[in-house]
Amino acid sequence: MTPAPKPVVIGPISPAAGGALYQQIVDRIKREIAEGRLAPGAALPSFRQFAEELLVSVITVKRAYEELERDGIIFRRQGLGTFVAERGHDRSRAAKLAAAKELLRDGFREATEAGLPPHELLDLARDILKEKK
């Protein structure tokens, strides 16, 4: 008998967090992949198993998987299951960078609307980076 695959754990899914539930699942899985906790070739749970574990509807997980598959981050093999794609890591990272860019754009727009000139905006960015450390 083959050993049971290690369970896949992702960050919490909650209606109280931002965005649609399926989008949260997409983001959490991308994060696991981008940060290397899910390696290429790793098996993901069936969407019904995952639904039970995350306590969300089957359709929600299905939709998340479909989106990840469309982005080339995971792939499905009929009868075998769902796996992290070879290039899933790069693509997850690319997706995270694109999301970061979008958030920075929003942040910069808010700051500009609040009357912050460009050089002070960069200072603000530096301050935030320091806080993080």
Binding site: A20, A51, E52, L55, S57, V58, T60
Partner: protein, 297 residues
């Protein structure tokens, strides 16, 4: 194989003061389906018809290819019902009720029943009369679930349950449909729970199916729109189908917008300004849609 577990077509049931239908309802196999609607919309009537409690005046009901009249016995073997009106007190104790009900169903799963007793915190020696309302609801669910029915129909299964118990129930329901063959139809007012757990939603109001489909698609389809009409202009009347004005305050408007209708194009033609679209929860959407009906649109 028919992809649908339950198909209701053109169902009509007439009472002196209320008519249900004609109503169509489609529950895909393997789904958790949430039937929602205001009080008195006809949800319980629809569920009763499936189990032959009262004769429908028109229409067809098929459950797993079984006609609800011609194949009544087969249907009742494969489908289970749990509702708020079930009364198990005559059996005295939980264990006696379990032994009685299990005798009727060859598919009864003893191990699963024991597991559910543990999860739902029910003891065989518990007196049914002294159980809390929530515990009685759990007993009713247990007696339906342990039969391992192919189709499980639940009328208000979470009424009187605390938040922890509700999670336990939905966790069990998700397990029950895990193989993709078992199907659950729930009538409920717990919209927050259904938004999270139900794959499909059907909204009944005044005896008619107003909308039915995948929960995520229904929630994505509508937005709360806020916008301003240009100075000196007023909003053309009437608003098109798909735009329900909820509030107008001078030139500032709030409306429910169906993004799949012509309303977005119409708003653009009206040259409205500062249009913001906000996602709605299923509960917000429900309230807005029911309000739409009351205002007679």
């Amino acid at each position: 194989m028919n992809p649908n577990a339950i198909e209701i077509r053109g169902l009509v049931k007439r009472y002196p003061a209320f008519t249900l239908g004609p109503v169509d309802l489609t529950v895909p196999r393997g789904a958790i389906y949430g039937l929602i609607g205001p009080n008195g919309a006809g949800k319980t009537t629809a569920l009763d018809m499936i189990f032959g409690l009262g004769r429908n005046d028109a229409g067809a009901i098929r459950v797993l290819e079984c006609d609800h009249r011609a194949d009544e016995v087969a249907l009742k073997q494969r489908a289970a019902y749990a509702g708020p009106d079930l009364n198990f007190q005559v059996w005295g104790r939980v264990g006696k009720a379990v032994r009685f009900v299990r005798g009727f169903y060859p598919g009864w799963d003893d191990a699963y029943c024991a597991e559910l007793m543990r999860v739902f915190d029910l003891g065989a020696q518990d007196r049914i009369a002294t159980l809390s309302f929530g515990a009685r609801t759990k007993l009713s669910l247990l007696l339906a679930l342990a039969r391992r029915p192919d189709v499980l129909i639940l009328d208000e299964p979470t009424t009187g349950l605390d938040a922890v118990s509700k999670r336990q129930v939905f966790s069990e329901l998700l397990k029950a449909v895990e193989d993709g063959e078992h199907t659950v139809l729930i009538s409920s007012h717990g919209l927050t729970d259904l938004e999270r757990f139900a794959d499909h939603i059907g909204l009944i109001r005044q005896g008619r199916m107003l909308l039915e489909g995948r929960t995520d698609e229904i929630v994505e389809r509508y937005r709360l729109a806020e916008f301003f009409t240009p100075d000196g202009a007023t909003l053309a009347n009437p608003a098109p189908a798909g735009l329900t004005i909820l509030r107008g305050d001078g030139n500032r408007w709030r409306a429910l917008l169906d993004q799949k209708s012509d309303a977005p194009a119409w708003l653009e033609a009206q040259r409205v300004q500062n249009l913001t679209l906000t996602r709605l929860t299923l509960e917000d959407l429900f309230v807005a849609l029911v309000k739409e009906q009351e205002s007679g649109q």
